[in-house]
Symmetry: none
Subunit: 213 residues, 4 copies
DNA sequence: CATGAATGAGTATTCATTCAT
DNA sequence: CATGAATGAATACTCATTCAT
């Protein structure tokens, strides 16, 4: 039932390769990585259905058939990318997260860690946004998503209970914050110019004022 | 070169039919509308490349060939929807917009008009979000988008000049506001439950506090 | 079984309208003629399968449906043209043909009458050549063709018996003569310049020398 | 822009496989040949527009998609056949052509070499005739045709200058000869019976008498 | 293991034909 | 009678997937 395939020892999905996005030719045995990277790029550029498997193979520098040694199907491939990147995102945001800190600091940490991920893995971030809730995502991929969502919901509810965030449906507040983050990220993609640290801090300050009680 | 087609008298693209989204069968002569409605729904559900033309025809209750009497190609069809809905959106937001009002009131009006559009035309709103900057949009469609963007940029810049909005790149502030709006809208789609008026007002208040100086 | 249709009084297929090829708009009631003319032109330009029925309607200046008032199907239409023109050709060649004349004169008459037809109805002549033996011609159309063939075969056989033509398979001699005629006709179409009377006479003299005993 | 495709090492278009027309199943790696052969047959039987690509695939014994590995489009396929056969024809006629011989011998050689080609490649010969000057032939295909035409025109003009051929427009004489050749060839196709050597000689003698001064 | 040629089901689009007006 | 909008079967072409090498 696992959606990826055969090559015997595949290291933990959770330990994420330092991405090396941009490598165009598969060197040595990291064809799997090359395929994931190429597919990520293309899915962002053209969408899932707009991307042909041989195109992925071309960009990855492997034969078309090779993709099927590593992934059962095109669908399994998107799902693998989705989970890989969602877990990578979770790692960046949650590893060593100062849960004990006050809400203001929690928020700043959250925002800045997301900014770090989005800056270093812009394509991956856009990919996660675009493929959110698509019908070709399988149950396991959705589960990864939901786990993060539940975690954040808990944090928000507690902060509300302590009177540090505005009251209101937690999903609404989270949607607002995450949406603003995506909007800011996109705005810099569209101008094709990375945000600098000051911009991210400004944005963070804005959104904190939006949700603070 | 115009992307819509033959049937002689087609009423101004700008005068938008109250959509009546949801009607599944083509009544009388409004096959064009039926096709636009069906395609809008399906493009939202499955994306552009994920939707087959015969599926659109089926849902519109017309023959597959009929679509090509009204639209030159599948691509012309998305572009027609995009422009129709973008202009509809612009109409709802800008018709009788109180330009003279103070910034606080301008902002409230903007948000609430967008909320009105997103509530009454949820699919259309999501469609516009998804198809933003896709490569199958033609120049005219992009132009419609850019006109709105320039308009808003002007408003933001002036309000900043009057010291009523935080300083910073206008594109960043706009991305933040629009992103937050999209995030809020999506959050209610995902729970499959429309936001009530109080929720929209809360969200509006939040975002105002985000951008006010 | 007749392949043309309904309009009540259709005048004898054999009495051929002086073609008036080139008329683009159907005047009064001669829509049938307009359709035949338009179809003839297009079948020559693009072939049978390469020509769309609505194109024929357009060029004929009638609605697409109208064609089906006069002809049961596209196939019936080609067959009607084929028979009309084949009979027209037969009329021009055989009406008042001096059967009693000597072989030299018979040959001259034959050639010059064919030249007359090919000059005055170039499209029709090319049409007859192209559609020779195509699978969409029905039995009656083939019968018209075969009747002419038998007639000529008889003439050739008799002339051979009188020692005025070279001996050899009659079909070979006829193929040679008819082929040469077509070749000459085509050569002037390709240069897009009609042959003058002297050229036709020269060609006639050549081919006579080819077949005379 | 070249009209044939991908498979890397394709041997010179000019070195023509001894066609082996009639083979219905693709053996080994010669799928390209199988496709060319099947398409040639079908284009002769039904014309270009009358032939469906899957029909070609069926007769060639390959999958429909396979055709597109070898040819960019149906149009590229006809053009490939046209050029292949036109060059094959040119090879058969011109290889070791005794240019120094007297006009009578030149003519005999020309005719008999054409007869050889038409007998051994009847379908190919008919194909070349039918597709002459069709609008789906591209510039390169037309160029191949024109080169041969220019060559012959030169020969005719010189022979006329030496007083060995009748005077008159070279195109007319060439049209006459080529037309007669085609007519003879067709006449035997229609009876479905190959001409024997004596028949070809008879025809040659006839046409020589047609054009000799 | 890796490949890419081969496949056929699936896609966008066209077109002969019908039929309500 | 005449029309042309509507249709769906058919067409050219693409692409995920397989498998012989």
């Amino acid at each position: 039932m696992a959606s990826e395939a055969h090559p015997k020892a595949r290291p933990s999905q959770t330990r994420l390769s330092s991405p090396a996005i941009g490598t165009k030719r598969a060197a040595g045995g990291d064809k799997r990585e090359a395929i994931l990277d190429a597919a990520l790029e293309l899915f962002v550029e053209r969408g899932f259905f707009g991307t042909a498997v041989p195109e992925i193979a071309d960009r990855a520098g492997v034969g078309a058939g090779t993709i099927y040694r590593y992934f059962e199907s095109k669908e399994a491939l998107v799902n693998a990318i989705y989970r890989q990147q969602k877990l990578h995102f979770a790692n960046v945001v949650l590893d060593g997260f100062p849960r004990a800190a006050n809400t203001r600091e929690l928020f700043r940490q959250l925002w800045m860690r997301m900014a770090k991920f989005a800056t270093e893995n812009t394509n991956a971030f856009i990919f996660l946004e675009l493929h959110h809730h698509q019908r070709y995502l399988d149950d396991e991929s959705r589960a990864v998503e939901n786990r993060m969502l539940d975690l954040f919901t808990g944090v928000v509810t507690q902060a509300q209970a302590r009177g540090e965030l505005k009251l209101g449906p937690p999903r609404l507040l989270m949607g607002l914050v995450m949406g603003a983050f995506v909007g800011v990220t996109r705005s810099c993609v569209e101008i094709d110019q990375a945000l600098d640290s000051a911009d991210w801090k400004l944005a963070e300050q804005c959104i904190w004022e939006a949700v603070r009680s």
